[in-house]
């Protein structure tokens, strides 16, 4: 794996050529869907001529293919956007380009970011960087594998319920899901607007901090963004860390527990106080999530109808055109989520499902708030298992959803949460731990993780 500093002060053209060559050599992983070679090389030459400058001048990166970018397609790994060429770039990409970074291509994902394994991509599954028979995790699977394979030092991802953290954990890299509202979502394909966040995957926490510092901040094009609060900090004194006991039950893979416990021991050795705490509503978080999020998906995906952009099916009436374009353009998981959303929002069911879920969400947030009165940081494994086998969970959507059980609570509450490597199973599969913080404590989480990285 590579870090940002390896790419600074050297030939930008060589950086880009090397990264593109590496992406091509790694084709069997199916992590990268497209390369924007011409535009990337043009920008590299501008960097080398001194026409583009900045703190990341000449550093190549890859964005998940749900970020709108110039110089190639933006597909969201779906058939309906298969040939879509965006007329604009997302704010996060613009901010990185303003610092001289170079987007070389787009990473694979579950179509419209619906999934936890990147098996729902319309363009084929992404394979785990360590074991090609296993999943990359998802939905930012391509982003995680591209970092783990050393194609680029960092990638951008989106995290609605764990889509950065879980693939980061499955591939042994750092993944950051910031506080809701930290990074502008302008120009990013929307999934569930009340929990969608944009974050970074990198080989180390230092690089993640560098990128977060650049992409965070208020954007007038996204009214949900917070005034810029992200600023790197250092750890002062020792912290109080709560390990959520409901996330360490016998349902969790023993090797995942072992790696988590070894990380806890390291925290203790560094002088931090670590205690067991209870988040009793953890077991309901997934049910809340799979009501709220499909409801928002059914609304957000209404725009893909084959009329103004994207693939249009042959049809003789407008209604047929909508129905057929959507049926052909979406994968099964998209359809399941849209229809569940229609179900929980339909009259007669709204109170029982959607309203009940949003009330339960308040109770979950209250429980988090109470814990944060006594603790600085909460800790869980990122996922109950290491990367599972390709095809193992595809026939059972509920089983697949359970991979998100540890990560959805922070999403529903809008809290920052990061995934950091904690060790390996005996078979060599990476295991990650999740650190969850108070709102706007993103930099503290990263500083704590960085101090632990130096301990290893």
């Amino acid at each position: 794996m590579s870090s940002i500093s390896d790419f600074i002060g050297v030939s930008a053209r060589k950086n880009v050529e090397d990264a593109i060559a590496k992406a091509r050599e790694s084709e069997s992983f199916n992590a990268v869907l497209s390369l924007s070679e011409a535009r990337a090389l043009e920008r590299a030459d501008q960097v080398d001529r001194g026409e583009i400058t900045g703190s990341l001048a000449g550093v190549p990166f890859i964005a998940k293919d749900n970020f709108l970018t110039l110089g190639g397609t933006t597909t969201a790994a779906s058939k309906i956007l298969e040939n879509f060429e965006a007329p604009l770039q997302s704010t996060a990409i613009e901010k990185l380009e303003a610092e001289g970074a170079i987007c070389i291509g787009k990473a694979n994902l579950d179509a419209f970011a619906h999934g936890g394994s990147t098996e729902n991509s319309a363009f084929g599954v992404t394979k785990n960087a360590i074991d090609q028979e296993r999943v990359a995790g998802g939905s930012s699977g391509g982003s995680a594998v591209a970092v783990a394979l050393g194609i680029v030092p960092f990638t951008l991802g989106t995290d609605t319920g764990g889509s950065i953290r879980q693939p980061a954990s499955f591939n042994g890299v750092v993944g950051v899901k910031p506080t809701y509202g930290t990074v502008s979502r302008y120009g990013v394909v929307a999934m569930a607007s009340s929990t969608d966040t944009i974050g970074v995957l990198a080989t180390n926490t230092h690089d993640a901090i560098v990128v977060m510092d650049i992409i965070s901040g208020r954007d007038t094009k996204d009214a949900t963004t917070l005034p810029d609060f992200f600023s790197p900090v250092s750890i002062e004194g020792t912290k109080k860390i709560g390990v959520i006991s409901e996330a360490m039950t016998d349902d969790v893979d023993p090797e995942v527990k072992k790696a988590t416990e070894s990380y806890i021991e390291k925290l203790r050795a560094a002088g931090h106080t670590v205690e067991e705490v209870s988040l009793s509503l953890l077991k309901y978080a997934l049910a809340i999530y799979y009501i709220v999020v499909p409801a928002e998906i059914s609304s957000n995906l209404g725009r893909y109808d084959g009329v103004r952009y994207g693939r249009r099916a042959d049809a003789s009436t407008l209604n047929e055109l909508y129905g057929a374009s959507r049926d052909q353009g979406f994968v099964d998981e998209n359809k399941r989520r849209i229809m569940i959303g229609s179900y929980v929002l339909s009259s007669g069911f709204f109170d029982a499902y959607y309203l009940q879920a949003q009330r339960a969400r308040t109770l979950l947030i209250n429980e988090f708030n109470a814990l944060f009165e006594s603790y600085d940081v909460l800790l869980t494994p990122v996922a109950p298992t290491p990367a599972f086998k390709i095809g193992e969970n595809t026939s059972d959507p509920i089983k697949m959803y359970l991979a998100d059980v540890m990560t959805v609570p922070a999403s529903l509450a809008g809290l920052p949460a990061i995934s950091v490597p904690a060790g390996f199973t005996e078979a060599g599969l990476p295991v990650g731990v999740q650190l969850i913080g108070k709102r706007r404590d993103d930099a503290l989480l990263l500083a704590l993780a960085e101090s632990m990285e130096q301990q290893v």
């Binding site: 879509f84 007329p87 604009l88 809701y180 509202g181 009340s194 929990t195 009214a223 949900t224 509503l281 309901y284 997934l286 049910a287 809340i288 799979y290 009501i291 059914s298 209404g302 009329v307 103004r308 952009y309 994207g310 249009r312 049809a315 003789s316 009436t317 407008l318 055109l321 909508y322 129905g323 959507r326 049926d327 979406f330 099964d332 359809k335 399941r336 849209i338 229809m339 569940i340 959303g341 229609s342 929980v344 339909s346 499902y353 309203l355 009940q356 879920a357 949003q358 009330r359 339960a360 969400r361 308040t362 109770l363 947030i365 059972d396 959507p397 509920i398 959803y401 809008g414 709102r439």
Partner: protein, 96 residues
């Protein structure tokens, strides 16, 4: 456990603007039944008197000036994305 029939699936598909193929209906019926069965566990929670949470930004009333901004994108570039156009407008088949 809520039972979902094939016609329920077709009704949800209609609400969702999805024209499903026949073989999709059966597999979706099983999946939807299982998912709805799973999310029904929220019935166990007493939420009476609890305010719902619809957003987690802590922000209120984010204002902007009421001025037209095309965000740097011209009409022609957007029209170019449409599968069919005529006379500067997006063309669709007959409505009825």
């Amino acid at each position: 456990m809520t039972q979902i029939s094939d016609s329920d699936v077709q009704h949800l598909a209609q609400l969702s603007n999805l024209q499903l193929a026949d073989d999709e209906v059966t597999s979706l019926r099983t999946d939807l039944e299982n998912i709805i069965g799973y999310i029904q566990q929220l019935d166990e929670l007493d939420t009476s008197g609890v305010e719902p949470t619809y957003q987690v930004t802590d922000l209120q009333n984010v204002w902007r000036n009421d001025v037209v901004d095309n965000y740097g994108i011209e009409k022609a570039a957007l029209l170019q994305l449409a599968p069919a156009t005529e006379a500067d407008q997006i063309k669709v088949p007959k409505v009825l």
